[in-house]
């Protein structure tokens, strides 16, 4: 029962919110439902932590890895809901673009992402992964401007095609499992596949073929170069809370799916093949996104390319494997999502107050928007991986694993790109912070909802950089244990 609850609340909640035409009432209801949902997710995580894995029927299951990602979803979606409650105050009524539609779609989006993390069956996981695209496409096109419609269409088409390849990969893996003598009814269950993994390798070509399709398919959703074309557009054109959700939760969910496949394939045909692919995609994403960060003009596109770069870092951690590599990769998914939310929230405030996201038109915000600037600086320092912020720890772990395995090419590219990204962020941010502001914004102070969301995120990146709480560390270890 406990696993059905976190799925039922967002679906029923989405329907309920649609009944409220008054924006204020819809917002309050959304916050209330969000709170309940987070409490339920917290209970699930705690149950998994204390009693081990939970199973509900044949399609739902939660183990250490699910719990770790669910915790991330709960934290980030809480921040996003709080931030959105203030952000939407300027949004008017339109078809599919009023606050009640916004919250209803956000809850559907959350439902699909939570289902991804709770699915025990790879087919069900695929269905829900495609569901994430469907639930969020209208949110990407929320503003109905030319840019938003174009971004929404591109997002829908590119991701649906990409995900279709993942379906093909899933079918090939299913075929390999059935050919190896597994019962067709359970040949998509992740646990059964893990147990039977050595047997599936009867036909290593098929398993490898499956992984190639899956990494291309789910890699489209993760935003690996060269399948990343939808990502900057969608992030830049969506409303800011949605950009944060896409970058901080959706990409992680896709990465989670890839981790599940990687575990099966590594156990089946040995880690060499999948890990080399992950390293190639990871390094490629890091290099291309890192270089493109230098030439960006739009603040949110800059953040989007930085997300691609960080997904590359996580893929490198996974591809290196080993205790430190996995530790770094998983920790980085969490750290990146909090830091990136903070940055997107700041970008949203800047847009509200200056009316633009073009970085060459934004000047002197350190004087006009001191609090937002503080958040932007904290987020910026965290995202480029400087100590004492949390991303430093995870990047350092991945880097030490690369050194330990003597993968010097990876090390050199990794360090080079980190410096390039640092230079890029410093260049862009200095131009925005300094200079003479051309006009004063009406209200430079943060409103309470923004205070809470941004303050919590900032505290989180700082706190996790200084020490990792005991419970969090245990959850992380349990997640790593699932993958090994």
């Amino acid at each position: 029962m406990l696993l059905l609850l976190p799925l039922a609340i967002p679906v029923l909640g989405a329907g309920l919110i649609l009944l409220f035409h008054n924006p204020r009432a819809a917002t309050r209801l959304a916050l209330l439902l969000g709170g309940v949902e987070i409490a339920v997710l917290g209970t699930v995580v705690w149950q998994v932590h204390t009693h081990g894995e939970l199973q509900q029927g044949r399609y739902l299951r939660a183990d250490g890895l699910s719990a770790f990602f669910l915790m991330g979803i709960a934290i980030v979606s809480g921040l996003v809901l709080v931030y959105a409650s203030g952000y939407l105050r300027h949004t008017g009524e339109g078809r599919f673009s009023s606050p009640r539609w916004f919250y209803a779609l956000v809850f559907l989006f959350l439902f699909t992402m939570i289902s991804v993390c709770l699915s025990a069956n790879l087919g069900f996981l695929w269905i829900m992964m495609e569901g994430t695209t469907l639930a969020s496409a209208l949110l990407v096109g929320f503003y109905n401007t030319e840019g938003a419609v174009e971004a929404g269409w591109k997002y829908l088409i590119v991701c649906t095609v990409g995900i279709a390849f993942a379906l093909f990969g899933t079918i090939v893996l299913y075929l390999a499992a059935v050919k190896a003598g597994m019962n067709p009814a359970s040949a998509l269950d992740w646990v059964s596949l893990m147990n039977a993994a050595p047997r599936i390798a009867l036909d290593p070509h098929l398993v490898k073929l499956a992984f190639v399709f899956v990494i291309v398919g789910y890699g489209t959703k993760i935003g690996f170069v060269p399948m990343h074309s939808w990502l900057p557009d969608a992030h830049a054109e969506a409303p800011t809370p949605i950009s944060a959700l896409l970058s901080a939760v959706l990409l992680n969910c896709a990465m989670y799916a890839l981790m599940r496949y990687d575990a099966i394939v590594s156990r089946s045909v040995g880690p060499a093949f999948p890990h080399v692919l992950l390293l190639i995609f990871g390094v490629m994403s890091m290099v291309v996104a890192g270089l493109l960060i230098l030439v960006q003009r739009n603040l949110k596109r800059l953040m989007a390319y930085s997300s691609i770069e960080h997904m590359g870092i996580i893929a490198i951690g996974l591809g290196l494997g080993g205790p430190l590599g996995l530790f770094g990769a998983l920790l980085h998914t969490f750290n990146h999502s909090v830091a990136k939310s903070l940055l997107f929230f700041s970008a949203g405030n800047i847009r509200h107050n200056t009316g633009t996201l073009r970085m060459d038109e934004i000047q002197g915000i350190s004087r006009t928007l001191p609090q937002t600037t503080a958040a932007l600086i904290v987020g910026g320092l965290a995202i480029v991986g400087l100590p004492p912020f949390s991303l430093f720890i995870s990047e350092f772990a991945i880097l030490s694993e690369a050194f330990a395995q003597a993968r010097y090419l990876v090390v050199i590219l990794f360090l080079a790109m980190l410096s390039v990204v640092f230079g890029g962020f410093a260049f862009h941010f200095f131009r925005m912070l300094c200079g003479e502001p051309d006009r004063r914004p009406e209200n430079s102070k943060l409103i309470p909802s923004e205070y809470i969301a941004m303050g919590m995120a900032a505290l989180c990146v700082l706190f996790f950089g200084v020490r990792i709480p005991h419970v969090f560390g245990r959850l992380l270890q349990e997640a790593i244990a699932v993958l090994q």
Binding site: Y59, F96, N121, G123, F124, W126, I127, E130, G131, T133, L134, A137, L138, G141, N144, T145, E146, G147, V149, E150, A151, G152, W153, K154, L156, I157, T160, V161, A164, L167, F168, I171, Y174, L175, V178, K179, P184, A185, L188, D203, H205, L206, L209, P232, D233, A236, E237, L292, V295, Q296, R297, R301
Partner: protein, 220 residues
């Protein structure tokens, strides 16, 4: 052997050829409406193939899948497309960026390529070459239609052809996935098409055309 048995054998032995025909015709189709009809025909062939498989392998679950294919892909989706073209009042041309001759050559090359690909993997899978090659060429043709046709509606159609190919590949190699999963996938397709329909309306409202190759404001 009864009449049904004979029909089953004929369908199973010849449907790949008909599928190759539909994709070659899709390559030369100039109107959206004829492309939609061809897609309906292609889905009907696949539905027949599904039912034949169900009869031959005596798997009652697959009858349901066959019925779903028929209702959704042969009846519902083509009707929805005709409704959309009518409501959008768009020009009927598919706006291809390749000439029909080039398209035919490309699709022929795709078919050849599929056979080549199947040869290297066919031994491992233990299924006849033709159906698997048909499935793979459907996937590739779908992708080709998506990149070479500029109308938003044709991109949706290309996606559907691609999906037909994946469905067929699953069917001939493993007799399809478990029923619940298949139903979930069908539901996703329907929802996806609904959303794409909403977006085509938005594109035609905001841009006053449906030529997605002109959507290129966002770059870099």
């Amino acid at each position: 052997m009864g009449l049904v048995g004979i029909a089953t054998e004929k369908i199973l032995s010849s449907f790949s050829v008909f599928l190759f025909l539909t994709i070659l015709l899709l390559a030369v189709a100039r109107r959206i409406s004829s492309s939609v009809l061809l897609f309906g025909l292609q889905s009907a062939i696949i539905a027949a193939e599904v039912l034949a498989t169900a009869f031959q392998e005596k798997l009652p679950e697959i009858y349901i899948v066959g019925a779903l294919v028929f209702v959704i892909k042969v009846v519902a989706i083509p009707r929805a497309f005709f409704l959309l073209t009518k409501r959008l009042k768009t020009v009927r041309d598919v706006k291809a960026s390749t000439t029909p001759t080039q398209s035919v050559f490309i699709v022929a090359a795709i078919i050849y390529l599929s056979y080549a690909a199947v040869h290297s993997y066919g031994g491992a899978v233990h299924v006849p070459d033709d159906p698997l090659a048909a499935a793979i060429s459907l996937i590739l043709t779908g992708a080709f239609l998506m990149v070479s046709r500029k109308k938003a509606l044709m991109q949706m159609l290309g996606l559907l052809v691609l999906e037909n190919g994946i469905f067929l590949a699953a069917l001939i190699t493993t007799f399809g996935m478990p029923l619940v999963i298949e139903i979930g996938i069908f539901f996703d397709i329907l929802m996806g098409l609904l959303l794409m329909g909403i977006f085509t309306f938005r594109i035609s409202d905001t841009f006053e055309h449906l030529d997605v190759s002109k959507l290129r404001r966002l770059r870099g």
